[in-house]
Amino acid sequence: MANEIAKGPAAPGVAKVDPILVADGVRREFGGLVAVDVEHLEIPRGKITALIGPNGAGKTTLFNLLTGFDKPNTGKWTFQGRDLAGVPAFKVARIGMVRTFQLTKALSLLTVLDNMRLGAKHQPGESLLRALVRPLWRKREAEITVAAEELLKRFKLDAKSDDFAASLSGGQRKLLEMARALMSKPVLVMLDEPMAGVNPALTQSLLEHIKGLKDDGTTVLFVEHDMHMVRHISDWVIVMAEGRIVAEGPPNEVMKNPAVIDAYLGAHHDSDLGADKIAKEAN
């Protein structure tokens, strides 16, 4: 089936019409175990791409490699045409590729608002010498605070903004981490299991937030086990197993792929066990 995302028929490593991230030969070994072995991967710009696969498939390791938190044994990748291999994590984030973590990393003993402010870019007061001269950073701080409060409102955390992040529930921390990542207005946001531990009511609003990101022109790549979420919001699905990309394509096609069903979904993935019905009603 032809579509506006891929150049050819959906297959692992297929070239995209407008890729934002292109990886080649990325391989990471832990001792004898090959955790990631991706021959070719392109992430489409301005779309929501889901990365799925069984536990241990290498999804999080691939995230770590692409964002500079881990170094591959071999491999090259470019982001918006810029070579990223060997670039440290903080620089990757600065050029617009921001990630969240599977195990939420809220900064517990900072307030929710300070967590948000830390996510912002271009705060001159973050340099040691300029920090001492308040007029140099006060204006930018006010702008950052306005942006932070706006995002907190969107994520329904505004009532919590002066509390320590430690006082948030697990689901709220997930929201905070995602909101914090958005403070820098990233070009590509990479969410590692954004729905894990979030209650169903909140899931709905999170889905809306992620769709909203796409409408703002942000590219989203996320790892998720929740198939409803994958089906409802993603434009493209990449399936990993044992470190390799085994399938790629639009969600409905990929989920019918027998290899994917065998490796990951299981035979009964499509029958209604109750939850699907609820999700449909909510939509």
Partner: protein, 332 residues
């Protein structure tokens, strides 16, 4: 035994330069541990490096006061960079191990007589240490000569002078820390304390922040070391042991590690109590209540009490006297 006299003379510790020296080191440690989460167990070495740097510049290069102080600070910066380069990319515990070891190594190097100048003098003074380097400092003394009575203790004009300068430095360092920790720079430090990978993922150069914090806190300790040796008018290698480091830790934890006023209050309370307990113990020896113990022996009891106090503090009041109970590093 007169408790009032004992108490009064103990209050003399409130204002001594010796207390100011430890408070300076503790403010530096607050930046390391309280705000950035760096486990530095070698703060004594930063103080020692500053003190030796100052003394060597004053003695060997006949440098004026300002240059001697700057040289001491430069030595502390170099020391911090040397410790930081290999350890700050690793987990926090590595810095802890390396700082403990580096403090010992520095002590041995200072004690050894291997490093000599061209005319054969040991630069660090070896086991005897260095003395008579305070001339450029005391020659600037504006305090009129005479005896001054403070809390029943008699002080010379030179002691008054070093006390004033020591506490002025405390005020400067505390204000610096106050403004820095309330700036976006300080926010990044606190973020690193909580989770450095998260801060990295937000595009901050964590390694640079940690290095800056290590250097800044180390320089404050170096100033503390200089005040300490100018006050005692001698640099001895044996002073800068783990005792010195853990006294700083006690002062910091007593006051509150994540506060600016904490190290000051902690230092004042600690040294007043320390002196008071000594006076009380001496009084008890005088009236034969301590069995066969002599005065030097009961002095050791104080150190046991310090250890006990440190344990009780961390267990029952981890936030210290001034800290916010919620914002402590021990609550898991």
């Amino acid at each position: 035994m007169d408790l009032i006299v004992a108490l009064q003379s103990s209050f003399g510790e409130l204002i001594t330069a010796g207390t100011a020296a430890f408070v300076l080191c503790a403010i530096g440690l607050a930046i390391h541990f309280g705000f950035t989460g760096l486990l530095n167990f070698g703060q004594a070495a930063f103080a020692a490096v500053g003190a030796y740097g100052y003394a060597i510049a004053a003695l060997d290069f006949k440098a004026p006061l300002v240059l001697s102080v700057l040289f001491g600070l430069l030595c502390a910066v170099i020391f911090a960079v040397l410790l930081g380069i290999p350890t700050l990319r690793l987990r926090a515990d590595y810095l802890a191990i390396v700082t403990i070891a580096a403090a010992q190594v520095f002590k041995f190097v200072a004690t050894s007589s291997a490093i000599t100048d061209p005319s054969g003098n040991v630069i660090t003074g070896g086991a005897e240490g260095l003395s008579e380097f305070g001339g450029t400092f005391y020659s600037l003394n504006p305090v009129p000569a005479g005896e001054y009575q403070v809390f029943g203790n008699s002080l010379t004009q030179d002691q008054i002078w070093v006390d004033i300068v020591g506490w002025l430095l405390v005020v400067v360092c505390a204000l610096l820390t106050y403004f820095l920790t309330r700036s976006p720079w300080g926010r990044a430090l606190k973020g690193i304390r909580e989770d450095e990978d998260a801060v990295r993922s937000l595009g901050k150069n964590v390694y640079l922040y940690k290095m800056q914090a290590l250097i800044l806190g180390g320089c404050m300790a170096a100033l503390g070391g200089m005040v300490f040796v100018i006050n005692s008018q001698t640099v001895q290698p044996t002073v800068w042991g783990t005792n010195f480091t853990f006294t700083i830790w006690t002062v910091l934890l007593l006051g509150g590690a994540t506060t600016v006023l904490g190290p000051i209050a902690g230092g004042v309370v600690f040294f007043t109590l320390f002196a008071f307990i000594q006076k009380v113990l001496e009084g008890l020896v005088a009236i034969h209540w301590m069995g066969s113990l002599t005065i030097p022996q009961v002095g050791q009891i104080r150190l046991i009490l310090v250890g006990l106090a440190l344990m009780l503090l961390v267990i029952f009041r981890p936030q210290g006297l001034f800290g916010n109970k919620k914002e402590t590093l021990f609550n898991g």
